[in-house]
Subunit: 199 residues, 2 copies
Amino acid sequence: MNNLQRSAQTKKSIMEAATSLFAREGYDSTGVAEICERAGVSKGAFYYHFESKEAVFLALIDTWLNTLETTLNDVTYQAKSVPDGLLEMAGMMQPIFENNQFFMGLFLELWTHANRNEKVRQATIAPYRRFEETFTRLIKRGIEEGTLENVEPEIAGQLLLSLSSGFFLQASLETEQGNWGKKLQESIEILLNGMKRRN
Amino acid sequence: MNNLQRSAQTKKSIMEAATSLFAREGYDSTGVAEICERAGVSKGAFYYHFESKEAVFLALIDTWLNTLETTLNDVTYQAKSVPDGLLEMAGMMQPIFENNQFFMGLFLELWTHANRNEKVRQATIAPYRRFEETFTRLIKRGIEEGTLENVEPEIAGQLLLSLSSGFFLQASLETEQGNWGKKLQESIEILLNGMKRRN
DNA sequence: TAAAACATAACGACCGGTCGGTTTTTGGAG
DNA sequence: CTCCAAAAACCGACCGGTCGTTATGTTTTA
């Protein structure tokens, strides 16, 4: 292995180890030594590749949110109609809900530290705003194509984002594997049709 | 001051100090010494009243969730119609959203540790389920009184709970004071009316 | 041979919890 | 009301251990 491959491999090992440990134990409760042990590298290697423990966390946030964003964009762009797209999106979330031990824990860790650490907050807010914009754009598209009522796009976008986030939270608390993708789908169906009785 | 008052006062001081510190710095980053300093008591007093740092956290969870539950129940029982009740509830959340530096931080801390610590999980899940039931009952009532469509109460209840939780999350990230109570109201209006265009 | 990549041991700060001692309150006895 | 001993409440120095980071040395690649 040449230096480039070796470096990349080590870095990858560290990030993978950190991902699962942060997700399971939390950022504060996970020690650098623990990460190193699981990654099969030494502390020297760790601090050769990362400036600090925090730097690893920030790197993880970056890759994770980018993955999520790409997935989201793919789904919304490919959908024929907007209501269909929303329902598909809910289905797409299923795999994420399923590895909850992995992602849910990281998701929570992310939110918590975004509230205290300025760097984490910055790394979180930006993609989060883009999520919101994606939803808002989707709503606008739906109104234009005539499949959605004339709701306020900003409010509806925020509604969708909150609903998704709330489902993440709920799913993280449950121990048994509920079918969260389907539950989210059914919720979105209700949202599309409305709850209030018409006369 | 007699012993009863003295005890109560000290305990109160400790819990208040812990509340604001946990909310701002997080559970792990807040030291017992720090809590004691802010509360104006010594470590001896702290460990006289609480078995451990965790015990304080559990006590806080208990009082906080009870407050929230009482508020929620009051609103839903007093409402004339269910759609009105839902909108009022959203308005009632406004004061909670406003002291976000206090409550939002604690909310996040609660969720994070519920995911790792079994005791915290137990203390969280029970009231959380009751929230869900309250929402579900509300939906059933709405269907019975004829103000709501014939949606599945369990799904709709979960939807409302997720939406509320998601709003808490969002509000905790924002630095500027958005009017989250009103935003939640508008979201619920959309939810009541539905988003899909009828033909 | 130089530079990159990694290993190991040790440091220093911190933190939850303990423990022996001190102050304050209590509830009678005189 | 006064005194006093016991219990309750509180104090604060200290311990054992952990953890992030660093300094120094070693191996691997260029």
